[in-house]
Amino acid sequence: MKYRTMIGLEMHCEISETKTKVFSSAKNDFSEYPNTSVRPLDMAFPGTLPTVNKQAVRMALMMSIVLGCKQPKYLYFERKNYYYPDLPKGFQITQETKPAPIGSYGVFEYECNGKKSVRINNIHLEEDAASSDHYPSGSRINYNRAGVPLIELVTEPDFRSADEAVAFLENIRSIYQYLGISEADSKKGQVRCDVNVSLMDASLDENDPKNWGTKVEMKNVNSFGAVREAINYEIERQTELLNSNKKDEIEQETRRWDEESRTTIRMRSKVDAIDYKYFVEPNIPKFKIPNSWIDEIKNSIPRLPSERKEDYINNYGITDYDATIIVKDKRVSDFYEECIKLKANPKKASNWITTNLLGNINKLDLEFDDITLTPSMLKELIDLVEKKEISSNQAKEVFTDILTSGKTPREVVKEKGMKQMSDEVEIIRIANEVLDENPEAIEKYKKGRTNIVDFLTGQIMKKTKGTANPKVARTAMAKEIEKR
């Protein structure tokens, strides 16, 4: 039998760009020394009360708008009650679907081998829990993370493959970055996903819930690579069970992705699901969201990757492939736009960025923030080549140097004595020197081996230690050999 895979995602993304936490005035920076970004509320001392961070609400509303969701008239928060040592209050302040959260029922288009669309069930604003480290002797809790604002996005099960799910996540991650809401860095634990997977008979109608397979949820899948692996593992596991007529063994349950064994492991059955006893947070009065605020937020949404990409293709003649690479990371895209602002040749800048800049970052295992190369340096380098002051080979060498050294291209060129030789008289002199040293080559040329010119040009380059302008050298050699 053929199966249709239905995948739904819950994506949690920490807001990293607010000054303070979502309900307390502690700094939103959990990379600080442990337990220093903490106010009494974050450790739930008796009598403390939450106060809503308007900046976080604004960011969440912006995301809600971008995802095509409906914004509520009034803002409410709810308590989700459960006990865990990383949750000092014994409840998380969050939003549920009733009353309406910060965004409901959107449709979002993303790229995965063409345009795809996914229905967004809801998006809501909540607080993160503390982080804990477990040791054999006990656990340590860091409350710096307690109360960090978190946006949770819940999709309908509209993805049909791991590729689609991951492409969506990458799209959303870059939007968070473009909107200045979050670094959305999964290495820093800022992005965490829950994934649900079910398989149904592909020949049946997918719009009828009766035909759906049993949904299995996987919690805390913390990198996009793991999302892909977990989905594929779960598809395989469920397919095997279905193929061997063990449909009953697929239970509505929560599993967890285990990084070590690279498998999913059962946590609990749906029957044992926790009742979170939601109710409206009484310490936060309902807040009317004025239309004027929504309009103001709409008008301040910066250009998103899809818009930038179109712009690059249509106005700068960049290939779809290169444009996609550039917009994937906002910092790269910003770098590129800065180069264009400085009037660097757009195509050349794109080439340098996609091949050399990103290539070197990958090869040398650098972080984008480690590089000292600036857009104006890249522009300088491009100009040096264009004005034929250095050869393109030399330029590559300069590039590798200025990537992390903090030096400017001119400084490196000077240091390495790398001026390009474009002096025609001098090159002709050297060409004749080469010809004098290679009489057998002239013989071969005369017998019709015209491509020997390339070899001889190479000899000029060798003699000049690569500083000769290759084009000038080749022209000179072609002319001089004819004279013999």
Binding site: F45, P46, T48, L49, N81, Y83, P88, F279, P282, N283
Partner: protein, 486 residues
């Protein structure tokens, strides 16, 4: 010369004239605290080493007062009268107390309460039962039991209280003093240990309406740490009390006040309601028009259930922070959840545990609509009913409880169905966040009883003014338990 049984204004004038110093007042108050502690067990902590404070033009400067032990006080033990916090010394002070300190008020003790304010008897404090100074075989009611006992005994002119159902206004009646909770949000709750956040109010126990106004002026104010607080900087309660009640109208509710509703009424209840009707006459004498109105009995009868459902639900969530991990005496356990369980099992009294069970039950997914959401709907109906009355009347005047303080022995928390509305109607003041004041209106069997006036939100001045006019027409203003009696 004793000063602690005088009014704030009188003490202030004595201080200004130099008849007495702040130090002498503190010494007197602490000495009296120790006597009342012996007799009534009213305090969790008496602050022996408290410093005096400069006397300024502020009425409260240099004058001692008491703080209910569910207010967070920096560097001073703050237990909520619970074993779960028996060693908890906070590092921050509640906004309301901070505001009083800024005016130069001097806290001399922390008063006992029903554990975390969850009780109406003053008998569930971790330090033991608080006894009524008028008759030590009787209760003070609660939860602000220690504050009420101390103010009635003349330990100081006022103490702070908190009120979720009637926790200020009932003990005030049982102890023959004034108890006032202003409109929800007028006083910041930041630093008040929460019981049920949507019902919790800060407030004050005093011996006169004007003193209640002075102290509330000192405690109130918008607070960036409490989103439910509001700006009342243009409201000056004390300065606005002029006793002019011309054209004011009050109403009382037939279904609550008519003796014929209580076929099993005992002598005390009869006398209490007779006394209430005399108070209504007093109101008319001072110029307040009073009318009897009728409210759907069924709706009124729902009041205690609505209160139990909402307050228990919020309480079970609010007190989930009590785990012993971060503060409080941590208990042993193999794993964290065992340690938490041991701490809560050991720390909470049975009454609170019962309420947590109710709170969890009514919030469970399968029960939530039937109980919690319905309670919220009925809460809204009751509030709307009261708001409707406030369109015609400046306030509702009702008797407090079924009579004077009950006996400690032989009394339990079980409600008599017939009189439950009479006992519990003050909770409607919390449902709506209404300003509500209890003042003493006489004696039944030689024990004080009280009357309550509740008005519309933000109409605090009007409520205080009517209470002041009525108080002035009776002889119970500033009354103190005679020491031979306590």
């Amino acid at each position: 010369m004793k000063y602690m049984d005088k009014s704030i204004k009188e003490i202030h004038e004595a201080l200004k004239k130099g008849e007495v110093t702040s130090r002498q007042l503190i010494d007197e108050s602490i000495e009296k605290s120790k006597i009342i502690q012996e007799k009534c067990n009213a305090f969790v902590t008496i602050l022996d080493d408290v410093k005096d404070s400069e006397v300024t033009d502020e009425l409260l400067s240099g004058i001692p007062y008491g703080v209910k032990d569910n207010y967070s006080t920096k560097g001073v033990l703050s237990t909520g009268s619970s074993n779960t916090l028996k060693d908890y010394v906070p590092f921050f002070t509640a906004t309301a107390i901070e505001n009083l300190s800024k005016k130069g008020a001097v806290c001399v003790n922390k008063t006992a309460l029903d554990e975390f304010g969850m009780g109406g008897t003053g008998t569930t404090c971790h330090t033991g039962i608080v006894k009524n100074p008028w008759d030590r075989t009787r209760m003070c009611a609660g939860s602000s039991a220690g504050s009420a006992a101390a103010v009635a005994s003349g330990v100081y002119p006022y103490a702070t209280g908190s009120d979720t159902g009637d926790s200020i206004r009932k003990p005030a009646a049982y102890c023959g003093i004034v108890g006032y909770k202003p409109t929800y949000g007028m006083i910041s709750r930041y630093g008040l240990f929460p019981f049920a956040s949507s019902l919790d109010h800060c407030g004050v126990l005093t011996r006169s309406v004007k003193d209640a106004a002075i102290v509330t002026d000192g405690m109130k104010g918008i607070d960036k740490n409490d989103m439910t607080s509001w700006d009342s900087s243009d409201i000056h309660l004390y300065d606005s009390i002029d006793g002019n009640v011309k054209g004011k109208k009050l109403c009382f509710i037939k279904e609550i006040c008519d003796i014929n509703n209580y076929p099993n009424a005992d002598e005390k209840l009869k006398k209490h309601l007779e006394n209430f009707m005399k108070t209504i006459e007093k109101c008319r004498e001072v110029g307040i028009e009073v009318e009897e109105v009728s409210v759907d009995q069924k709706l009124l009868n729902a009041t205690p259930s609505v209160y139990v459902v909402i307050s228990c639900a919020e309480a079970t969530s609010n007190m989930s922070n009590l785990t012993g991990f971060i503060f409080g005496p941590r208990e042993e356990g193999e794993r964290w959840n065992e340690s938490l369980k041991n701490y809560r099992t050991k720390g909470f009294s049975p009454l609170i545990k019962r309420r947590f069970v109710i709170g969890s039950y009514v919030l469970q997914a399968q029960n939530k609509d039937r109980y919690f959401h319905n309670a919220q709907r009925v809460r809204r109906l009751l509030v709307d009913e009261w708001k409707k009355l406030f369109k015609t009347y400046d306030g509702v005047i009702l008797p407090v409880g079924t009579g004077p303080a009950k006996k400690l022995e032989g009394s339990n928390d079980i409600l008599d169905k017939n009189t439950s509305v009479l006992e519990e109607h003050l909770q409607i003041g919390n449902f709506g966040g209404f300003p509500s004041i209890t003042i003493p209106n006489g004696f039944v069997d030689d024990l004080p009883v009280g009357v309550n006036i509740t008005g519309n939100c933000f109409d605090d001045i009007n409520v205080l003014n009517m209470a002041y006019a009525l108080e002035s027409s009776m002889n119970y203003k500033g009354q103190i338990v005679r020491s031979e009696r306590s």
